[in-house]
Amino acid sequence: MRVPEQSQAIVIYTGWERHALLGSDIRLSCSFFSWRWTSEDVTFSWTYRPDGSRDSISVFHYTGGMAYVDNKGPFRDRLEFVGNPARRDGSILLKNLDFSDNGTFTCDAKNPPDIVGRPSSVRLLVFEKVPIQAGVITGSIIGAVLGLLVLIVVIYYLMRFLVARRVFSLSVSKHGKKKKEGSQQRQGPVPPADPSKPVRRMAAGARSNQQQRTVVRKTEGVGGGGEEGPGRVLMTIELELTRKNGEKGPGGEGGMGRSAAPGFLSRLANQLTFK
Protein backbone atom coordinates (compact mmCIF):
# COMPACT_ATOMS: atom_id res chain seq x y z
CA MET A 1 0.00 0.00 0.00
CA ARG A 2 1.35 3.31 -0.86
CA VAL A 3 1.55 5.85 1.91
CA PRO A 4 0.37 9.21 0.61
CA GLU A 5 3.31 11.57 0.50
CA GLN A 6 3.38 14.65 2.67
CA SER A 7 2.07 17.75 0.94
CA GLN A 8 4.04 20.94 1.06
CA ALA A 9 3.08 24.45 0.26
CA ILE A 10 2.86 25.66 -3.28
CA VAL A 11 3.31 29.35 -4.07
CA ILE A 12 1.43 30.86 -6.97
CA TYR A 13 2.53 34.00 -8.81
CA THR A 14 0.47 36.26 -10.98
CA GLY A 15 0.73 39.97 -11.59
CA TRP A 16 -0.85 42.48 -9.20
CA GLU A 17 -2.62 44.74 -11.64
CA ARG A 18 -2.79 44.84 -15.40
CA HIS A 19 -3.78 47.82 -17.51
CA ALA A 20 -4.97 47.39 -21.05
CA LEU A 21 -6.52 49.47 -23.78
CA LEU A 22 -10.04 48.92 -25.00
CA GLY A 23 -10.09 46.37 -27.78
CA SER A 24 -6.59 45.07 -27.22
CA ASP A 25 -5.38 41.63 -26.14
CA ILE A 26 -3.79 40.86 -22.84
CA ARG A 27 -1.88 37.90 -21.50
CA LEU A 28 -2.48 37.05 -17.85
CA SER A 29 0.45 35.09 -16.55
CA CYS A 30 0.34 32.51 -13.79
CA SER A 31 3.23 30.50 -12.47
CA PHE A 32 3.97 28.54 -9.37
CA PHE A 33 6.82 27.42 -7.19
CA SER A 34 6.83 23.95 -5.71
CA TRP A 35 9.50 21.80 -4.10
CA ARG A 36 8.43 18.77 -6.07
CA TRP A 37 8.90 17.94 -9.68
CA THR A 38 6.09 19.01 -11.93
CA SER A 39 3.73 16.09 -11.85
CA GLU A 40 1.62 14.86 -14.72
CA ASP A 41 -1.52 15.68 -12.78
CA VAL A 42 -0.72 19.37 -12.50
CA THR A 43 -3.85 21.52 -12.76
CA PHE A 44 -4.44 25.20 -13.46
CA SER A 45 -7.74 26.98 -13.06
CA TRP A 46 -8.73 30.59 -13.60
CA THR A 47 -11.81 32.22 -12.10
CA TYR A 48 -13.18 35.65 -12.84
CA ARG A 49 -15.00 38.07 -10.56
CA PRO A 50 -16.36 41.22 -12.20
CA ASP A 51 -15.83 44.56 -10.49
CA GLY A 52 -18.62 45.24 -8.03
CA SER A 53 -19.85 41.68 -7.94
CA ARG A 54 -19.32 39.11 -5.23
CA ASP A 55 -19.69 35.96 -7.32
CA SER A 56 -16.89 34.47 -9.30
CA ILE A 57 -17.20 32.12 -12.22
CA SER A 58 -14.70 29.66 -13.49
CA VAL A 59 -13.37 30.46 -16.95
CA PHE A 60 -10.50 28.11 -17.53
CA HIS A 61 -9.34 24.71 -16.32
CA TYR A 62 -6.36 22.59 -17.29
CA THR A 63 -6.20 19.05 -16.07
CA GLY A 64 -5.03 15.67 -17.25
CA GLY A 65 -3.06 17.27 -20.05
CA MET A 66 -6.16 18.97 -21.50
CA ALA A 67 -7.09 22.66 -21.46
CA TYR A 68 -10.79 23.56 -21.13
CA VAL A 69 -11.67 27.15 -21.98
CA ASP A 70 -14.83 29.10 -21.37
CA ASN A 71 -17.47 28.38 -23.98
CA LYS A 72 -20.58 29.72 -22.29
CA GLY A 73 -19.53 32.60 -20.13
CA PRO A 74 -18.44 36.15 -20.85
CA PHE A 75 -15.20 35.04 -22.47
CA ARG A 76 -16.45 32.52 -24.98
CA ASP A 77 -14.31 32.54 -28.10
CA ARG A 78 -12.08 35.18 -26.54
CA LEU A 79 -9.99 33.03 -24.24
CA GLU A 80 -6.96 31.08 -25.30
CA PHE A 81 -4.50 28.98 -23.37
CA VAL A 82 -0.92 30.07 -24.08
CA GLY A 83 0.83 28.49 -21.17
CA ASN A 84 3.22 25.57 -20.88
CA PRO A 85 2.27 23.33 -17.96
CA ALA A 86 5.49 21.37 -18.17
CA ARG A 87 7.30 24.65 -17.44
CA ARG A 88 4.80 25.57 -14.71
CA ASP A 89 3.27 28.29 -16.84
CA GLY A 90 -0.50 28.56 -16.86
CA SER A 91 -1.01 31.82 -18.71
CA ILE A 92 -4.13 32.69 -20.62
CA LEU A 93 -4.72 35.19 -23.40
CA LEU A 94 -7.77 37.42 -23.42
CA LYS A 95 -8.70 38.96 -26.75
CA ASN A 96 -10.65 42.05 -27.72
CA LEU A 97 -11.15 43.51 -24.28
CA ASP A 98 -14.25 45.41 -23.30
CA PHE A 99 -15.12 47.59 -20.31
CA SER A 100 -17.17 44.74 -18.89
CA ASP A 101 -13.97 42.72 -18.52
CA ASN A 102 -12.85 44.90 -15.64
CA GLY A 103 -12.46 42.64 -12.64
CA THR A 104 -10.28 40.25 -10.70
CA PHE A 105 -8.83 37.08 -12.21
CA THR A 106 -7.71 34.39 -9.79
CA CYS A 107 -5.29 31.64 -10.73
CA ASP A 108 -5.18 28.45 -8.70
CA ALA A 109 -2.56 25.82 -9.48
CA LYS A 110 -2.08 22.42 -7.96
CA ASN A 111 0.93 20.19 -8.29
CA PRO A 112 0.04 16.89 -6.62
CA PRO A 113 0.98 16.06 -3.92
CA ASP A 114 1.59 19.77 -3.30
CA ILE A 115 -1.91 21.10 -3.10
CA VAL A 116 -1.77 23.46 -0.15
CA GLY A 117 -1.45 26.95 -1.52
CA ARG A 118 -3.15 30.31 -1.74
CA PRO A 119 -4.58 31.28 -5.11
CA SER A 120 -3.19 34.53 -6.47
CA SER A 121 -5.27 37.30 -8.04
CA VAL A 122 -4.57 39.85 -10.73
CA ARG A 123 -6.77 42.86 -11.29
CA LEU A 124 -7.58 43.85 -14.85
CA LEU A 125 -8.28 47.49 -15.71
CA VAL A 126 -9.48 48.42 -19.17
CA PHE A 127 -8.99 52.01 -20.28
CA GLU A 128 -10.08 54.01 -23.21
CA LYS A 129 -6.71 55.68 -23.35
CA VAL A 130 -3.77 54.87 -21.16
CA PRO A 131 -3.98 57.32 -18.28
CA ILE A 132 -1.02 59.24 -16.94
CA GLN A 133 -0.24 57.82 -13.55
CA ALA A 134 -1.57 59.95 -10.78
CA GLY A 135 0.83 62.67 -9.83
CA VAL A 136 3.35 62.26 -12.62
CA ILE A 137 2.77 65.74 -13.96
CA THR A 138 2.71 67.19 -10.47
CA GLY A 139 5.93 65.53 -9.48
CA SER A 140 7.74 66.40 -12.66
CA ILE A 141 6.79 70.08 -12.47
CA ILE A 142 7.93 70.34 -8.87
CA GLY A 143 11.13 68.47 -9.57
CA ALA A 144 11.96 70.49 -12.65
CA VAL A 145 11.46 73.86 -10.97
CA LEU A 146 13.45 72.94 -7.88
CA GLY A 147 16.20 71.47 -10.02
CA LEU A 148 16.29 74.66 -12.05
CA LEU A 149 16.59 76.69 -8.86
CA VAL A 150 19.49 74.62 -7.63
CA LEU A 151 21.16 74.89 -11.01
CA ILE A 152 20.80 78.66 -11.10
CA VAL A 153 22.24 79.06 -7.61
CA VAL A 154 25.17 76.80 -8.44
CA ILE A 155 25.88 78.63 -11.68
CA TYR A 156 25.68 81.98 -9.90
CA TYR A 157 28.24 81.01 -7.30
CA LEU A 158 30.40 79.36 -9.92
CA MET A 159 30.46 82.56 -11.99
CA ARG A 160 31.38 84.58 -8.94
CA PHE A 161 34.19 82.20 -8.12
CA LEU A 162 35.49 82.13 -11.68
CA VAL A 163 35.33 85.89 -12.11
CA ALA A 164 37.19 86.47 -8.85
CA ARG A 165 39.78 83.90 -9.77
CA ARG A 166 40.28 85.35 -13.20
CA VAL A 167 40.73 88.82 -11.78
CA PHE A 168 43.22 87.45 -9.27
CA SER A 169 45.32 85.67 -11.85
CA LEU A 170 45.30 88.75 -14.10
CA SER A 171 46.49 90.97 -11.26
CA VAL A 172 49.18 88.50 -10.31
CA SER A 173 50.58 88.45 -13.79
CA LYS A 174 50.47 92.25 -13.90
CA HIS A 175 52.09 92.86 -10.55
CA GLY A 176 54.59 90.07 -10.87
CA LYS A 177 56.67 89.74 -7.79
CA LYS A 178 54.87 92.40 -5.77
CA LYS A 179 53.13 91.42 -2.54
CA LYS A 180 50.10 89.36 -3.27
CA GLU A 181 47.64 90.63 -0.70
CA GLY A 182 43.97 89.94 -0.74
CA SER A 183 44.40 86.78 -2.70
CA GLN A 184 41.33 85.09 -1.32
CA GLN A 185 38.28 85.02 -3.56
CA ARG A 186 36.14 87.19 -1.41
CA GLN A 187 38.69 89.93 -1.08
CA GLY A 188 38.31 91.14 -4.62
CA PRO A 189 41.13 92.35 -6.81
CA VAL A 190 44.72 92.64 -5.60
CA PRO A 191 45.34 96.10 -4.20
CA PRO A 192 48.35 98.01 -5.47
CA ALA A 193 51.56 97.98 -3.48
CA ASP A 194 50.97 101.57 -2.38
CA PRO A 195 48.74 101.42 0.71
CA SER A 196 47.88 105.08 0.58
CA LYS A 197 45.60 104.41 -2.37
CA PRO A 198 42.98 102.05 -0.98
CA VAL A 199 41.24 99.92 -3.48
CA ARG A 200 37.80 101.18 -4.34
CA ARG A 201 36.65 98.86 -7.11
CA MET A 202 35.64 95.47 -5.88
CA ALA A 203 34.90 92.22 -7.59
CA ALA A 204 31.37 90.90 -7.19
CA GLY A 205 30.42 90.20 -3.62
CA ALA A 206 33.48 91.62 -1.92
CA ARG A 207 33.25 93.10 1.53
CA SER A 208 33.00 96.79 2.25
CA ASN A 209 35.84 99.18 1.68
CA GLN A 210 36.69 99.58 5.29
CA GLN A 211 37.30 95.92 5.75
CA GLN A 212 39.47 95.72 2.69
CA ARG A 213 41.52 98.66 3.73
CA THR A 214 42.03 97.24 7.15
CA VAL A 215 43.24 93.97 5.78
CA VAL A 216 45.62 95.58 3.37
CA ARG A 217 47.12 97.71 6.02
CA LYS A 218 47.58 94.94 8.47
CA THR A 219 49.01 92.56 5.98
CA GLU A 220 51.46 95.13 4.78
CA GLY A 221 52.61 95.55 8.34
CA VAL A 222 53.09 91.89 8.93
CA GLY A 223 54.38 91.03 5.54
CA GLY A 224 57.53 93.09 5.52
CA GLY A 225 59.55 91.84 2.61
CA GLY A 226 58.25 91.27 -0.85
CA GLU A 227 59.04 87.64 -1.36
CA GLU A 228 56.48 86.06 0.95
CA GLY A 229 55.18 82.77 -0.23
CA PRO A 230 51.49 82.99 -1.10
CA GLY A 231 50.67 80.41 1.53
CA ARG A 232 51.89 82.54 4.39
CA VAL A 233 50.13 85.63 3.11
CA LEU A 234 46.83 83.73 2.83
CA MET A 235 47.07 82.44 6.35
CA THR A 236 47.79 85.90 7.64
CA ILE A 237 44.73 87.30 5.94
CA GLU A 238 42.48 84.65 7.45
CA LEU A 239 43.84 85.29 10.88
CA GLU A 240 43.30 89.01 10.50
CA LEU A 241 39.73 88.47 9.42
CA THR A 242 38.76 86.30 12.36
CA ARG A 243 40.53 88.45 14.85
CA LYS A 244 38.95 91.55 13.43
CA ASN A 245 35.47 90.11 13.62
CA GLY A 246 36.02 88.93 17.15
CA GLU A 247 37.23 92.20 18.51
CA LYS A 248 34.89 94.33 16.45
CA GLY A 249 37.89 96.18 15.05
CA PRO A 250 37.94 99.50 13.25
CA GLY A 251 35.04 100.04 10.94
CA GLY A 252 33.54 96.68 11.83
CA GLU A 253 29.92 96.55 12.74
CA GLY A 254 28.99 100.14 12.17
CA GLY A 255 25.35 99.23 12.46
CA MET A 256 25.35 98.71 16.18
CA GLY A 257 22.40 100.12 18.09
CA ARG A 258 22.46 103.47 19.69
CA SER A 259 21.86 102.18 23.21
CA ALA A 260 24.72 101.44 25.49
CA ALA A 261 24.43 97.64 25.71
CA PRO A 262 22.29 96.53 22.78
CA GLY A 263 20.66 93.12 22.84
CA PHE A 264 21.34 90.73 20.01
CA LEU A 265 17.90 91.09 18.47
CA SER A 266 17.80 94.84 18.64
CA ARG A 267 21.21 94.96 17.08
CA LEU A 268 19.95 92.81 14.28
CA ALA A 269 16.74 94.78 13.96
CA ASN A 270 18.53 98.08 13.70
CA GLN A 271 20.33 96.90 10.63
CA LEU A 272 17.23 97.18 8.48
CA THR A 273 16.28 100.34 6.73
CA PHE A 274 14.40 101.45 3.68
CA LYS A 275 16.70 104.27 2.67
Partner: protein, 158 residues
Protein backbone atom coordinates in the same frame (compact mmCIF):
# COMPACT_ATOMS: atom_id res chain seq x y z
CA UNK B 1 12.70 96.48 15.85
CA UNK B 2 9.14 96.90 14.75
CA UNK B 3 10.06 96.56 11.11
CA UNK B 4 11.83 93.26 11.63
CA UNK B 5 9.07 91.80 13.78
CA UNK B 6 6.39 92.96 11.39
CA UNK B 7 8.10 91.50 8.37
CA UNK B 8 8.68 88.16 10.02
CA UNK B 9 5.09 87.97 11.30
CA UNK B 10 3.68 88.75 7.88
CA UNK B 11 5.99 86.23 6.27
CA UNK B 12 5.00 83.46 8.66
CA UNK B 13 1.35 84.35 8.15
CA UNK B 14 1.73 84.06 4.41
CA UNK B 15 3.39 80.68 4.81
CA UNK B 16 0.55 79.44 7.00
CA UNK B 17 -2.08 80.70 4.57
CA UNK B 18 -0.29 79.06 1.66
CA UNK B 19 -0.09 75.77 3.51
CA UNK B 20 -3.78 75.83 4.37
CA UNK B 21 -4.69 76.70 0.79
CA UNK B 22 -2.54 73.90 -0.59
CA UNK B 23 -3.43 71.16 1.88
CA UNK B 24 -7.07 71.68 2.76
CA UNK B 25 -9.50 70.16 0.28
CA UNK B 26 -11.83 73.13 0.11
CA UNK B 27 -11.32 74.99 -3.16
CA UNK B 28 -14.87 74.32 -4.30
CA UNK B 29 -17.74 73.61 -1.93
CA UNK B 30 -21.41 72.90 -2.23
CA UNK B 31 -23.85 71.91 0.49
CA UNK B 32 -22.64 68.35 0.58
CA UNK B 33 -19.34 68.35 -1.21
CA UNK B 34 -15.97 69.85 -0.40
CA UNK B 35 -13.43 69.15 -3.06
CA UNK B 36 -9.97 69.81 -4.57
CA UNK B 37 -7.02 69.75 -4.86
CA UNK B 38 -6.26 66.26 -3.70
CA UNK B 39 -9.58 64.55 -3.04
CA UNK B 40 -13.27 64.99 -2.60
CA UNK B 41 -15.26 64.99 0.60
CA UNK B 42 -18.84 63.96 0.11
CA UNK B 43 -21.53 64.10 2.77
CA UNK B 44 -23.85 61.11 2.42
CA UNK B 45 -26.26 60.21 5.22
CA UNK B 46 -24.56 62.71 7.50
CA UNK B 47 -21.23 60.93 7.16
CA UNK B 48 -18.32 62.44 5.30
CA UNK B 49 -16.63 60.15 2.77
CA UNK B 50 -13.32 60.82 1.11
CA UNK B 51 -13.12 59.80 -2.53
CA UNK B 52 -10.84 60.29 -5.49
CA UNK B 53 -11.25 63.09 -7.99
CA UNK B 54 -12.92 61.89 -11.15
CA UNK B 55 -13.68 63.44 -14.49
CA UNK B 56 -11.26 66.30 -14.07
CA UNK B 57 -8.95 67.62 -16.77
CA UNK B 58 -5.91 65.80 -15.45
CA UNK B 59 -3.17 68.11 -16.72
CA UNK B 60 -4.75 71.25 -15.29
CA UNK B 61 -5.48 69.68 -11.94
CA UNK B 62 -1.94 68.39 -11.57
CA UNK B 63 -0.50 71.73 -12.63
CA UNK B 64 -2.53 73.46 -9.93
CA UNK B 65 -1.31 70.89 -7.42
CA UNK B 66 2.31 71.32 -8.43
CA UNK B 67 2.30 75.13 -8.45
CA UNK B 68 0.56 75.42 -5.09
CA UNK B 69 3.10 73.04 -3.54
CA UNK B 70 5.93 75.00 -5.15
CA UNK B 71 4.52 78.25 -3.75
CA UNK B 72 4.67 76.80 -0.23
CA UNK B 73 8.20 75.55 -0.77
CA UNK B 74 9.48 78.86 -2.09
CA UNK B 75 7.83 80.86 0.67
CA UNK B 76 9.41 78.70 3.36
CA UNK B 77 12.75 78.85 1.56
CA UNK B 78 12.48 82.64 1.40
CA UNK B 79 12.04 82.80 5.18
CA UNK B 80 15.19 80.81 5.80
CA UNK B 81 17.15 82.81 3.23
CA UNK B 82 15.96 86.04 4.83
CA UNK B 83 17.24 84.99 8.23
CA UNK B 84 20.52 83.87 6.68
CA UNK B 85 20.89 87.12 4.78
CA UNK B 86 20.26 89.10 7.95
CA UNK B 87 23.57 87.80 9.19
CA UNK B 88 25.65 87.53 6.05
CA UNK B 89 24.63 90.39 3.80
CA UNK B 90 27.20 93.15 3.42
CA UNK B 91 26.11 96.56 4.61
CA UNK B 92 24.01 98.69 2.33
CA UNK B 93 22.81 95.83 0.18
CA UNK B 94 19.31 94.74 -0.55
CA UNK B 95 17.75 91.38 0.25
CA UNK B 96 17.50 90.44 -3.39
CA UNK B 97 17.68 86.68 -3.08
CA UNK B 98 14.91 86.64 -0.51
CA UNK B 99 12.83 88.98 -2.61
CA UNK B 100 13.27 86.87 -5.70
CA UNK B 101 12.27 83.67 -3.91
CA UNK B 102 9.20 85.34 -2.46
CA UNK B 103 8.35 86.70 -5.90
CA UNK B 104 8.53 83.22 -7.37
CA UNK B 105 6.23 81.97 -4.61
CA UNK B 106 3.80 84.76 -5.45
CA UNK B 107 3.97 83.86 -9.14
CA UNK B 108 3.35 80.17 -8.42
CA UNK B 109 0.27 80.69 -6.30
CA UNK B 110 -1.05 83.16 -8.85
CA UNK B 111 -0.63 80.57 -11.59
CA UNK B 112 -2.35 77.95 -9.44
CA UNK B 113 -5.33 80.10 -8.59
CA UNK B 114 -5.67 81.40 -12.16
CA UNK B 115 -5.62 77.99 -13.78
CA UNK B 116 -8.10 76.76 -11.20
CA UNK B 117 -10.46 79.63 -11.90
CA UNK B 118 -10.23 79.27 -15.64
CA UNK B 119 -10.33 75.54 -16.15
CA UNK B 120 -11.92 73.76 -13.21
CA UNK B 121 -15.55 74.19 -12.19
CA UNK B 122 -15.95 76.86 -14.82
CA UNK B 123 -19.40 75.60 -15.84
CA UNK B 124 -20.69 74.41 -12.48
CA UNK B 125 -23.81 76.23 -11.39
CA UNK B 126 -24.17 74.68 -7.97
CA UNK B 127 -21.71 75.64 -5.31
CA UNK B 128 -19.06 78.26 -4.80
CA UNK B 129 -15.43 78.76 -3.99
CA UNK B 130 -14.30 77.53 -0.61
CA UNK B 131 -11.94 78.96 1.96
CA UNK B 132 -8.81 77.40 0.47
CA UNK B 133 -9.43 79.26 -2.77
CA UNK B 134 -9.92 82.55 -0.95
CA UNK B 135 -6.79 81.99 1.12
CA UNK B 136 -4.83 81.28 -2.04
CA UNK B 137 -5.64 84.72 -3.41
CA UNK B 138 -5.01 86.41 -0.06
CA UNK B 139 -1.61 84.79 0.19
CA UNK B 140 -0.90 85.95 -3.36
CA UNK B 141 -1.38 89.54 -2.19
CA UNK B 142 0.69 88.99 0.96
CA UNK B 143 3.58 87.36 -0.84
CA UNK B 144 3.58 90.09 -3.45
CA UNK B 145 3.76 92.81 -0.82
CA UNK B 146 6.51 90.93 1.00
CA UNK B 147 8.50 90.41 -2.18
CA UNK B 148 8.41 94.12 -2.96
CA UNK B 149 9.38 94.86 0.65
CA UNK B 150 12.39 92.59 0.47
CA UNK B 151 13.52 94.06 -2.79
CA UNK B 152 13.39 97.58 -1.34
CA UNK B 153 14.69 96.86 2.16
CA UNK B 154 18.33 97.53 2.82
CA UNK B 155 20.83 96.72 5.45
CA UNK B 156 22.08 99.83 7.17
CA UNK B 157 25.51 100.96 6.13
CA UNK B 158 27.53 103.40 8.17
Amino acid sequence: MLVLAGIIVVHITSIILLLVAAIDNAWWITDSVSTDLWGRWELTNSVWHYTNLKNYPEEYLQTVQATSVLACIFAILALFVFVAQLFTLPKGQRFTFTGILQLIACLCIMIAASIYTAELHADDTVGGYGHSYVLAWISFVLTFVLAVTYLVLRKKSE
